[in-house]
């Protein structure tokens, strides 16, 4: 029972991480139809920049917000310099473009921060594990889940209740019609990149104390986030959350009951199988036409 509970908690924690990353994918995809494979690098930048700020002596809470701001600016710059230039390219080229951006950022990061993982303090000074039903959970893991839920709530309010959300959905449904209604798809595209860069940074910040970020952490997290969003059905925010949690659980139970070395193979094998049964993901693309998210 304790074992099962432990795998469940671990699965929910990493699943929440993947869900936050996947929400970043979905935010960009639903506005611009671009899959940004550099999303994982935003997560990495979140962790690494936080490390640099706290090391420079900036107070924890200020470093937190400064990091998010910095990564948002980087996301905005990537959209303005790279994505906008190739906006009319086909999906294949866009994938390659964002892979290029990811390799570029990763290379710069390894030259700047070196190859060793860095250590970041948890949110609460006291990070002693709490025992629940015989399983232990650290407060930082609870923070990951809290942040995931908060992000889902904020995304929901932003998309459904505000003008900006309406503009987002309008651009997604029909960019030309949106322009006729005085919404600039260009601005919305830039905004979506900045926004999902911010989401990535938050993901990086909350998981940094658990994962010890290194320059290459973005690859796997990016791919897992991508597969979570594909698993849930591209363009669907609830799908991204379901996909992320599901992937986390498969990975955790696979590692626990089968083999820890095989956990990635089990997770991706499951993705392949699920795609075979549902080629358009769990929640499909039915939301995309209506404006995604």
């Amino acid at each position: 029972m304790g074992e099962l509970m432990q795998y469940l908690i671990t699965g929910l924690t990493i699943g929440s991480m993947y869900a936050i990353v996947a929400l970043g994918f979905v935010t960009i995809y639903s506005v611009t139809k671009v899959i940004n494979l550099a999303q994982g690098e935003f997560v990495m930048l979140g962790g690494m920049i936080m490390f640099s700020f706290t090391k420079a002596g900036v107070p924890y809470i200020f470093s937190f917000f400064l990091t998010i701001l910095t990564v948002i600016i980087i996301g905005f710059l990537i959209e303005a310099t790279i994505i906008r230039k190739a906006k009319n390219a086909d999906p294949l080229s866009l994938i390659i473009l964002t892979i290029g951006a990811a390799i570029f950022i990763r290379g710069i990061a390894s030259m700047f921060w070196g190859k060793d993982p860095v250590k970041i303090a948890p949110f609460l000074a006291n990070n002693e594990p709490i025992s629940i039903f015989g399983a232990s959970i650290t407060p930082q893991s609870i923070w990951v889940m809290v942040f995931m839920l908060a992000i889902v709530a904020i995304l929901y309010i932003l998309m459904e209740k505000t003008m900006i959300g309406k503009a987002f959905r309008a651009c997604s449904a029909n960019p030309l019609a949106a322009r006729l209604m005085a919404i600039s798809p260009k601005k919305m595209s830039a905004f979506s990149f900045a926004f999902s860069a911010g989401l990535g940074a938050i993901a990086g910040l909350v998981i940094a104390p658990i994962l010890f970020p290194a320059y290459d952490m973005g690859i796997m997290l990016g791919i897992k986030g991508f597969s979570a969003s594909i698993l849930g059905g591209l363009g669907s925010a609830p799908g991204a959350v379901i996909g992320g949690i599901l992937l986390g659980l498969i990975e955790s139970f696979g590692a626990g009951y089968i083999s820890s070395g095989m956990k990635d193979a089990i997770a991706f094998g499951a993705v392949l199988l699920l795609l075979l049964i549902r080629p358009f993901g769990i929640l499909g693309e039915k939301n995309v036409g209506k404006g995604g998210l």
Binding site: I35, I82, K85, A86, A89, P91, L92, S93, L94, I95, I96, L97, I99, G100, A101, A102, I103, F104, I105, R106, G107, I108, S110, M111, I219, I223, F226, S227, I230, L234, S259, G261, M262, D264, A265, F268, G269, V271, L272, L275, L276, P279, F280, G281
Partner: protein
């Protein structure tokens, strides 16, 4: 402009290239360059296959290194653990990737765009994890060692010049096969699929069959390169067959140009050149390291997609042709009129 019913392979081009390959090792003497040129041949074999898949069938593969690895491990396991002759295991190195591609193709046939990209990515990672974890066969992360050299009539192909020629002989065969494919009925069907899958299936092209065939061919080419790689190096380990290599192959194809066989060859050469350049500069300037090489690859990928979406080679060719075009402009105009005249009659 002479129009032919069936486009033929430009044999003069193949011949010129073969001559270039023959004299290339004599332009420099360091064994380092010969090794790099041998790798360029290996990469050419994989890149040409991937180019067929991307440029002609319009399918992306982010897991091509997996087939390369399956080919390499098939022969390494057979020839080291079971002592089977490398020439016999060549068949296995071709057939196992083909079989894996067939099974994967059945799955992936239902997927498009980003979903397909994800599936190939996942496939590549699964294979890589299997290479590391299936310890009883693959010997885990440390890999297999003692892979025997390829022999023919008692002559062993060791590293260096003899292996360079062996690899490039296979590479030339692969290039010729690929040129034949794209100039055949399959090639025309593939190009129509690339332009519009719906339209070509409406015209009666069995799109699924052709896409599957190309997927299998590209997997077999990667398997062949894996076979050559395994017998070139004394030992192999899973690190040579991970995501980084899949992306490296992708970079070659995108850089050179996916819509032409020569583009992939060109891309493989360019990447090898960049590798040599970074290596040589790196020994003089401390700033330039292997990390810098990755920064460079990333930059190249982005710049090529933005400014030369068709790749360097096709862009170069059309640039050369446009110079030629100015001289022949009048003649062509006359021909167009003649055709028009015919039409009226």
């Amino acid at each position: 402009m002479k129009r032919q019913g069936v486009q033929r392979v430009n044999w003069i081009g193949v011949l010129v290239f073969a001559l270039f390959i023959c004299v290339l090792p004599f332009l420099f003497s360091k064994s380092f360059y010969i090794t790099k040129a041998t790798f360029a041949g290996l990469y050419t074999i994989v890149a040409v296959g991937l180019g067929l898949l991307m440029g002609f069938a319009g399918q992306i593969s982010l897991g091509q290194a997996a087939f390369y690895g399956v080919g390499a491990y098939s022969t390494a396991v057979l020839s080291t653990t079971y002592g089977i002759n490398p020439w016999l295991s060549l068949l296995v190195s071709l057939l196992v990737p083909a079989l894996v591609a067939y099974i994967m193709g059945q799955t992936m046939a239902r997927l498009h765009g980003y979903y397909l990209a994800m599936a190939t990515l996942a496939f590549g990672i699964v294979i890589h994890v299997l290479l590391v974890e299936w310890k009883s066969v693959t010997k885990g992360a440390s890999g297999l060692y003692g892979v025997p050299k390829i022999e023919i009539f008692g002559f062993a192909f060791k590293q260096g010049l003899s292996y360079y020629y062996l690899v490039w002989t296979f590479a030339l065969i692969v290039i010729i096969i690929s040129l034949n494919i794209i100039h055949s009925r399959i090639g025309r069907a593939l190009r129509s699929i690339h332009d519009s899958e719906i339209a070509s299936s409406a015209m009666g092209v069995d799109t699924g069959k052709y896409k599957m065939q190309v997927f299998i061919i590209s997997a077999m080419f990667a398997g062949l390169a894996g076979w050559l790689f395994a017998h070139m190096s004394y030992s192999i380990s899973p690190t040579s067959f991970g995501l980084n290599h899949s992306i490296l192959f992708l970079t070659m194809v995108v850089l050179g140009g996916a819509t032409s066989v020569w583009g992939a060859v060109f891309g493989a050469f360019l990447i090898s050149l960049i590798n040599i350049l970074v290596h040589t500069l790196g020994s003089h300037i401390s700033f330039i390291t292997s990390d810098f090489e990755h920064v460079l690859y990333g930059l190249i990928l982005m710049l090529v997609v933005i400014f030369l979406p068709r790749g360097v080679f096709p862009s170069l060719v059309s640039l050369l042709k446009s110079y030629d075009y100015k001289g022949k402009k009048k003649k062509e105009k006359g021909q167009v009129e003649a055709v028009k005249g015919e039409h009226h009659v």
